[in-house]
């Protein structure tokens, strides 16, 4: 693989975390405009752990995921009783609050003679653990793919067990869910926590690939894209959001004929898809057909 392919694939993988994160909340019946906040939390905490505290990479990733999941649950706890649009705006407010706070967040330590750490709006550079450890881009791509595989595996386990069914029931009809004995609040908080952890995992991986991060990268635009990926790719399976990322970043960005017109083409494509399939390409009926075909 050449360097360009590797970088495109890495990007696809990293965005997939964010897209899956937004997708999980969609399944649980909530629109979140703010999953980029957890991506940012993961990127900053993971970066601080390895670059400032000099922890090993794995520990940085673990702390990022834990923090993302904890903050996800904490934010969900007061906001879950809000309905629909109010929840969406609350997530947006939280994400923008996070971004604005990172703009003034400074935490620098002297590491080998250089001041290292987040420096407000100037960003946070020198997150170099991966390069210092001599990990090649191809190997790092394998790490990203491995983590993504783990997330997909987790969702697959939840589909095999009761987790995804619970999320779907609560998402589709919270009143019925409650009368079936499911606690809607608890299920949604669990979903938000899971979504926060997954986005933070992507963020930590992203920070170590990019080596430089800044608050402006975690804008609303990023979050709304993540949301759109799931809606385009389809709500029927966890592969849906990944398909959405593939179409946007994989197909359009890498096909250079569209250079400069990517959004015009992508936007038009999305609009057409949604007219024909309001719940995305891999929607629930499609997945049923696939399953029926597999059962034969």
């Amino acid at each position: 693989m050449d360097g360009y392919t590797i970088s495109v694939l890495s990007n696809i993988g990293l965005f997939a975390f964010l897209a899956i994160s937004a997708w999980i909340l969609l399944i649980a019946g909530e629109i979140s405009f703010g999953q980029q906040a957890y991506f940012a939390i993961g990127a900053y905490s993971g970066g601080i752990a390895t670059a400032v505290w000099q922890w090993p990479f794995a520990a940085g990733v673990v702390i990022a995921v834990a923090l993302g999941a904890a903050v996800g649950a904490l934010v969900a706890w007061p906001t879950m009783r809000l309905s629909g649009l109010h929840y969406a705006i609350a997530t947006l407010a939280f994400a923008e609050l996070t971004r604005a706070s990172l703009n003034v967040f400074t935490y620098r330590r002297d590491i080998e003679g250089f001041a290292t750490g987040p420096d407000g709006a100037n960003g946070f550079g020198d997150i170099r653990w991966v390069y210092e450890a001599g990990i090649e881009p191809g190997a790092y791509l394998a790490i990203i793919a491995g983590c993504l595989g783990a997330v997909i595996g987790l969702v697959a386990l939840m589909s095999y067990g009761r987790g995804m069914a619970r999320l779907r029931i609560v998402g589709e009809d919270p009143i019925l869910a409650a009368m079936q004995g499911l606690s809607v609040t608890r299920t949604k908080i669990a979903a938000a926590s899971l979504a926060g952890g997954i986005a933070a995992l992507g963020g930590a991986l992203y920070a170590h690939l990019a080596t430089y991060i800044e608050p402006a990268q975690f804008s609303v635009m990023t979050g709304v894209h993540a949301l759109a990926y799931g809606l385009i790719g389809g709500l029927g399976t966890v592969l849906g959001p990944i398909l959405g990322v593939l179409i946007d970043i994989g197909l359009l960005e890498s096909l250079r004929v569209f250079a400069g017109y990517r959004m015009i083409v992508f936007g038009g494509l999305v609009v057409l898809v949604l007219i024909v399939r309001p719940r995305g390409l891999l929607d629930e009926p499609t997945m049923r057909r696939v399953q029926a075909w597999l059962r034969r």
Binding site: L92, A100, I264
Partner: protein
Amino acid sequence: MIDFVQNTLDGLAIGSAYGLLALGFTLIFGVMRRLNMAFGPSILVGIFAGAWLHSHWSAGMIPVFLATLAGAVIASAYVERLSFAAIRGDAALASMASSFALWMQLEEAVARVFPQRTYAFPTFEGLPMLELGPLFLRPEYLVMFLTAAALVAGLQVILTRTLFGLHLRTLSDNREAARVSGVNVAQVALLTFLLAAAIGGVAGFLIAATDGQISTKLGMWATMKGLIAMVIGGLGSMRGALIGGLALGVVEAQAQWYLGASGREITTFALLFVALILLPVGLAGGAETGARAEAGRRL
């Protein structure tokens, strides 16, 4: 103290433009029960149409204003057809995602035609600064405030005195009832969209003419301010939209003055977050907002 009053005054002026944006959102949300993410970018198209007229033909304020309105209305019609009329009634999420896709499309289209970072927009030149004792009021702000007030009054007349207004209100209150009583739902929805776009276009024009320069960031900016002001005020209430806009304007102006730009962002979003949790019905929304949400859930 003088500062505080001065900031409040400035905030109210900007807030009246926010209120108009929120009003446009509210009209659409009331009739469609869906979010039009491309609302701001439609206005963006209008503003750039105005700027183009200004730079190529040295057009004056009036033609630029009309071009802005026309651009916003045409772009909105495009959005309505593709993201709302063409998508099934029960697929609110799809409409939202679809309008977001059109947002991307409109923004990129504008950016391709206007590749520079910023463009000049005609300003209200030659108007004198107003002095009210120790306070100052930029004349643009006065124009903004008065236009917003006139527009709200006009909208009130449309809503209460015309058949279209009656239909619009019926549709907002109860879709089923409107259909049964013979309201042409599709037509009223389209007209409402265009009305909202025109209101948004006025707001966009006022903001651009006050700043004197525009960039493609304005689309996202308008969507965000309108959306936030609408939710602060109380979903689906027109009075709420205005109050929400004014409140947002004042809070931003005060925070900007006392805390600076990053302080303003932090304060605004922290307040928004807390307000949503403590007061989800909004500043002006009464029990009715909650009741409306509940109505769909009769067992």
